[in-house]
Amino acid sequence: MTDALSKVTHTQKAATVNPLKSSQPLGAALAFLGVANAMPLFHGTQGCTSFALVLIGRHYKEVIPIQTTAMDEVAAILGGADHLEEAILNLKKRTNPALIGVCTTALVETRGEDFAGELKLIHERRGNELAGTEIVLAQTPDFAGSIEEGWSKATTAIIEGVVPKGETRVSPERINILPGSHLTVADLEAIRDTVEAFGLEPTILPDISGSLDGKVAERWIPTSNGGVAVEDIRTMGGAVHTIAIGEQMRRPAEALKARTKVPYTLFDTLTGLAATDRFVALLAEISGRPVPARVRRARAQLEDAMLDGHFHFGGKRVAIAAEPDLLYAMARFFAGLGAEVSCAVSASGASPILEAVPAADVVVGDLDDFETRAEGCDLLVTHSHGRQASERLGIPLMHIGFPIFDRLGAQHRHTALYEGTRDLVFEVANIVQAHHVPRTPAELDPFRDHGDTHVGRPQTAAH
């Protein structure tokens, strides 16, 4: 694993070909969906909402509640304040959500209105009607950022909109968890279990494990079904500590600290043995309790999986494309088991974590940059849109991130802590084994190609 900073370059292309990223308001909507009884509201045209809603639905296989201010041509020119107000009042009346999360889109941001001011006016005028519903604003134009930024901004907006300023009585068993958008439903469940195993009570914000975990309800629920309760968010200032996971969560962690003085620890990743050790040790330290036997057993199982699995990583070349925190986590994971991350593509360029990705270069680009650079690799690691590159290059694809629409159960895969890392080791090892093809006499012929690339791939030291 390299400790040197990696070189981060942005591709200088006019045409984005096969986008890697999804839009910023989509990321914000996901975060809002992690609050119980919430309703994300896109401030833009119907189409923006429709695309986001369908894409999230394809990934989670759920009915996704997102609404729209339904901007039309007239509003686009004259301003959308009326649409915003009407949408909020309509939502309140029809679904009575605990929280409406307004996500601005490129259209309204291009026009450039004072959304915070508009919301304030709406509240002044309609305070009574809107009682019991928090309304928060995330400014998330599509022309900047990606899911991570939207998620981060929405979480920050929730904190700033819901958590009161000032210190409060600390409950020594309460702990805040601010998970990045790259963690799955299963990861959040595992984090909660681990925290609870130390006698601590976690408040997870956002908590999509409650709302996007795939379950069948017995009645129609128009808002998010599950997630962290607004009342619990309101008392996050009473926690003894905050744990933020992923560089994207520094912003909300800072916001929470600024309001409430709750200190935080930022984990750049929770994938991997050493990272999980640090997380578990912190919980032991905060709780003053020993590490439970069950957690220690999971650690021993991960060690074993790493030992059994490392054969399938060593000497392999891996191409990864993802949002920054996930890219970092996966690159660390692969490099830590001996694979070479020979192609690393980030969906967005804003995160400082990119410099820490263990790869010679990190390219901020698209899946076409990925496809070009991934040639000759042993494994592609990205979301479902990587399937075209996988077909064309004939290299197997490991699905990570968002969107995953051509596989089921993405949200139930463990990718963090001991168990998640163990499962990832197995998944990679099994993809590699499934694609192992015995070599033919022609491939092994020493005179096949009397250059350096003697046996199909370079055999000289590539280190």
Binding site: S23, R58, E73
Partner: protein
């Protein structure tokens, strides 16, 4: 200035659907105003892109910020027998800087260059979006310029999302084809049996189930737009003798204007269902004969229809008993409604409802004639209402698109995808059999009984009475003779039922210290 640009984008001829509308309705115009906070559905950009993207050897470049293309690409199952350029996604992915500094047009121009150099497409379609319309980028000028410079057709499509609905987008796409594509290529192999199919998307490759029928009759499909279309063939569409419009709202305006401009007669037809497939073949043949094709085409067509229908009905026969009386909720618009309704009713299935959201007045009338009760046709339904209807047990299956999939599933009602994401082909005679087969597979799946059975406990997790009786003591006769032979007896199948004696358990539980032992099942 901005305002003018946007107004210009809407300076389209009157919506062609109006032609089919009743006089009173015509005044309403195309786009109904949406309710903020209570709206659903795609936008004009979506509609335009859908209508054109399956043109397989063209690059489709979206000029705007990321979301329009980035959140929506690679989500449709059209089959291509040639290039895969159309499956790639191209967008100028405008950044804040691009917008603030007004370099959008320049970026678009450069993007066209990059794409034409690297991917060598037959043409580039450029789609405008809300933001680029709002900031007033002149995509017409850029396209014209780039076309001249790089020597390939570059077609502007004016499709900002805020212009209106998906349906409007379909029409805008048709305008682009008419203004910039059709008529620009003169093929050297024009024949009197050339036809054009409009509004057929070749989803799951289903047009490949139909085309061999036409081939066999000597009818040449000059181009099928947009499914599996190649750019040059589309450009030559004006040389055909007949246009058949498959998805009526999508491109009927284009057909009408092709008739106006080149005198090509058109008709609305459908390749869904046996009767409609046959009728479409018939009309194609007759119109071609009217336009100079050999007269025996009509007879040969009838012979083919007779043979294929007989074969299809024979293959459908086993399903009749299985599906007769099953109640279908058809939640999709357009021509599919009446075709599919007709096809399934012929097998004895019933319809509890059909969306006519995207249908023309003519479509609606056909549906109403078929269904006989107007109540069955609805304009669209809020998710909550749809859920209530399905949950209420009104339908044995819903046929719809992916958008309402999870509403059906959450209501534990069979659902079949008949829209763009589906993987099964449903066109022509074979496709009708496949549709019926898939409906049967879906309805007869035992999963429905299993998920509909309530858990043996209430919402608090307390056992319900229903459950307790399930357990009986393990059979003592069994225990007395534990030899293999005894266990192998025929009544084994029953003895496998889980068996526990509640009295025995109660007896032991009474000994529990501090447990409310007798409360089982009712605490």
């Amino acid at each position: 200035m901005l305002k003018d640009k946007i107004k210009a984008a809407f300076d389209e001829p009157a919506c062609p659907t109006n032609r089919a509308k009743a006089a009173g309705e015509r005044a309403k115009g195309c786009s109904k105003p949406l309710t903020p906070g209570a709206a659903a559905g795609g936008c004009a950009y979506d509609g335009a892109k859908i209508s054109l993207q399956p043109i397989t050897d063209a690059a489709h470049l979206v000029h705007g910020p990321l979301a329009c293309e980035g959140n929506s690409w690679d989500n449709r199952g059209s089959g291509s027998s040639g290039s895969d350029i159309w499956r790639r996604s191209f967008t100028t992915d405008l950044t804040e800087l691009d917008i603030v500094t007004g370099t959008g047009e320049k970026k678009l121009y450069k993007a066209i260059r990059e794409i034409s150099t690297r991917f060598k497409p037959a043409a580039v379609f450029v789609y405008s979006t809300c933001v680029t319309a709002l900031i007033g980028d002149d995509i017409d000028a850029v396209c014209k310029h780039a076309s001249a410079k790089y020597g390939l057709p570059v077609i502007p499509v004016h499709s900002p999302g805020f212009a209106g609905s998906k349906n409007l987008g379909n029409k805008l796409a048709g305008n682009a084809l008419l203004d910039h594509v059709i008529g620009t290529h003169q093929p050297d192999d024009v024949s009197p049996t050339d036809v054009v199919i409009l509004g057929e998307f070749n989803l799951a490759g289903e047009f490949w189930m139909v085309k061999p029928l036409l081939d066999k009759l000597g009818i040449r499909v000059r181009t099928c737009v947009p499914g599996d279309a190649r750019y040059l063939d589309v450009a030559a569409a004006h040389t055909a003798n007949v246009t058949m419009v498959v998805c009526s709202t999508a491109l009927i305006g284009l057909a009408r204007r092709m008739e106006e401009r080149w005198g090509i007669p058109y008709f609305e037809g459908s390749f869904y269902g046996i009767t409609d497939t046959s009728e479409s073949l018939r009309r194609l043949a007759r119109l071609l004969v009217e336009r100079g094709a050999p007269a025996d085409l009509v007879e040969r067509t009838e012979a083919l229809i007779a043979a294929e229908e007989a074969r299809a009905w024979a293959r459908l026969e086993p399903y009749r008993a299985r599906l007769a009386g099953k109640r279908v909720l058809l939640n999709t618009g357009g021509v599919k409604s009446w075709s599919i309704v007709a096809a399934l009713m012929e097998l004895g299935m019933e319809f509890v409802g059909t969306s006519v959201k995207k249908s023309t007045v003519e479509d609606k009338m056909r549906v109403q004639i078929l269904l006989r009760e107007e109540a069955h046709a609805f304009e669209g339904m809020a998710p909550r209402d749809l859920y209530a209807q399905l949950k209420g047990g009104d339908a044995d299956i819903m046929l719809s698109g992916g958008r309402t999939q999870f509403i059906a599933l959450k209501a534990r009602v069979p659902w079949l995808d008949i829209n763009q994401e589906r993987i099964h082909p449903y066109a022509g005679y074979d496709g009708t059999v496949e549709l019926v087969r898939q409906i049967d597979i879906s309805i007869s799946n035992p999963v429905w009984d299993e998920v509909r059975a309530p858990a043996p406990w209430d919402t608090e997790g307390r056992l319900t009475d229903r459950h307790v009786s399930h357990f009986t003591m393990d059979d003592d006769a069994d225990a007395a003779d534990p030899t293999f032979a005894a266990r192998h007896r025929r009544k084994f199948a029953n003895s496998r039922v889980d068996n526990t004696d509640p009295e025995y358990l109660a007896h032991h539980r009474k000994k529990f210290a501090g447990h409310a032992a007798d409360d089982i099942g009712d605490d």
